[in-house]
């Protein structure tokens, strides 16, 4: 069928306009962003593997218990022994930076949409769009704005991973019981005091679930971001696909799974302990 409505054309025009007019801004973001990601990566890669493993195991032990700690120890050791340590650390660096930035944007958005009907009406459909749009699509503007590399990878990841954090922050704040809010107001609390002393602490558990979701979505996206030379495990997975190397594909995929489980269990444990 012939194309009668061409929305794509206008999107392309908008993106082109942005590229032409905001070039210096994108360049600036790219340089600083890359520097940030690379410094995190440098730290993670240059710390000896056994220290990193020990650290992760200790955190898992403290917050998530013996079983998860054992899994963390064995899992990370396996990754190291399979020869994917550096790639895993690169991926981790990308996840950390994407998650941090996603949260910096998502938490205020979540608070805003919990407090204002108008904000909610604008933000909700945007989140729906961001979550349902096929993840690969984000790679296109990322590359157009920032060309290839780690920062566009992080950019696509942030967009893809942010929605649950916004939603769960909003949910957490909306779930704060009315009587608690009323009590705080009756004692003369200001809006700011209510937010920081009542709403955020009470929303913490839900908010941490959002953090957990964001981390896991970041992880799935950074693999896809391997397609635009974001490096890390994604690139190894892609290499396996391109060469039809089932062994490489499985090993790098397994590393992703191990990393995912460790991050998930530890952040979940944080979430459960949030209130105690």
């Amino acid at each position: 069928m012939e194309k009668t409505i061409d929305i794509g054309q206008y999107v392309a025009i908008a993106v082109k306009w942005l590229m032409a007019n905001l070039r210096p801004l994108f360049d600036f973001i790219k340089t600083t962003g890359n520097a940030g990601i690379e410094s995190i990566e440098w730290v993670l890669v240059s710390v000896p593997f056994y220290i990193t493993i020990a650290l992760f195991t200790a955190v898992a032990w403290k917050y998530a218990g013996k079983r998860i700690a054992t899994f963390t120890l064995l899992g990370l050791a396996l990754i190291y022994l399979m020869g994917f340590w550096e790639e895993t650390m690169q991926t981790l660096a990308l996840i950390i930076s994407s998650t941090v930035i996603a949260l910096i944007v998502a938490v205020p958005l979540g608070i805003w949409s919990a407090k204002s009907q108008t904000a909610q009406r604008i933000i909700r459909p945007l989140l729906d769009l961001m979550q349902t749009m096929p993840a690969f699509v984000y790679l296109i503007p990322a590359v157009l704005f920032f060309s290839i590399g780690k920062l566009p990878g992080a950019f696509a990841t942030i967009i893809f991973a942010m929605p649950p954090a916004v939603r769960l922050t909003a949910l957490g704040i909306q779930q704060v019981p009315g009587d608690v809010l009323e009590a705080a107001r009756s004692l003369g609390a200001t809006q700011k005091q209510i937010l920081f002393k009542v709403e955020l602490p009470l929303a913490l558990k839900t908010l941490l679930t959002g953090v957990n979701q964001t981390i896991l979505l970041s992880l799935s996206m950074v693999v896809i971001a391997g397609m635009i030379a974001a490096g890390g495990l994604g690139e190894k997975v892609l290499e396996g696909i391109n060469n039809l190397d089932i062994g490489l594909g499985f090993e790098s995929g397994l590393s992703v799974v191990i990393l995912a489980i460790i991050l998930d269990r530890i952040t979940q444990a944080f979430g459960n302990k949030g209130l105690n």
């Binding site: 009323e182 009590a183 107001r185 004692l187 602490p201 209130l275």
Partner: protein, 414 residues
Amino acid sequence: MKENRPVKIKVEDLVLIFGKNKENALQMLKEGSIKKEILSKTQCTVGINQANFEIYEGEFFVIMGLSGSGKSTLLRCLNRLIEPTSGNVYVNGDNITRKSHRELLDVRRTEMSMVFQKFGLLPHRTVLENVAFGLELRGEDKETRETKAQQAIDTVGLHGFERQSPAQLSGGMQQRVGLARALTNDPEVLLMDEAFSALDPLIKTEMQDELLGLQNKLKKTVVFVTHDLDEAIKLGDRIVIMKDGIIEQIGTAEEILTNPATPYVEAFVKKVDRKTIITAGTLMHEKPTHVRFGKDGPEGTLRKMRSTGLDVLPVVDEQNTFLGFVWVADAVQCANRQEKTVESILLTNVPTVSIEVTVEEMLPLITATRSPIAVIDWDSKRLLGIVSQNSVVIEATRFNEQEITKLKEHANNS
């Protein structure tokens, strides 16, 4: 009732309207339209319809009504947790409704604290931190906070629970935390919204008693909202009864029970156990026909009895001091004996009560005697009135005179 106590809170023409078309609704309300008309014409609900009342300093003031009557809403208008649509609320003569947001925060932080039905405690904080919360919001340093909070905790009997989290406590204990939190700010006014309604009956009674004790000691002005008439009567110095946002009646429990202003109030108070509320003062026949000792002889006494149709009369001296009763049969004999005074037939061993004694307390007095009860001023012993046995029985049983007569006949015949 005239009061000389200073007014703490004054509510003037307070109106609260929910909905978008408030101006029209307000206009209609002022022109005397009723709630239903306003709802159908403007889609606005009238929450509070022109409330006017004063609360005195140190008073225990109860706002009572069923759910939807607007009682909790009215309470929230006092500290503007809900913004009234029009009208004024004065606290210590200061117009709360005109205050800026900043000033309002100060009022909430220093002058009025509130206690909630569902407690409203912060689950992530310990009891001590919860109690100190108000002071924290006020910006006081940690040491002051904890000292004052500790005092409040001791006052409400929570000593030893400071480090526990609210979730570990029972409902009654949690409400003690809520009360302590309100007291920590040392407010002049305590607003309590169904504070004990979520508690089980035994704990509820216990908390009521403790609150009354506290109120006696601390002399706060308390505004207490409840749907429970028994609670209102037990706690309140005065009670406001609300229905559909309208104040139906304001008065003491006894005034409301003995003289309900509207059919609604009347229906409402029907089920109340009046024995414990109605007093001799309400029940007595004031300025009864009496015999003056020394002036009225037996003949005079019989004449008074004939003219009133009574077979027993109280006897007083020149100072109106109550001396006893004389009965018609004795008076006839006395007259036959040609005696000059009623001294020989004066019964002095008769029940006397002061004005605030309740029906429940008078009931035992009418056993084993035919005598009515004399109501006297306890200091001067002056006669104030007479309570007949029948009226005590009527109040205690809610049977009327005819029913009592019928019951008696039935019992005597069988």
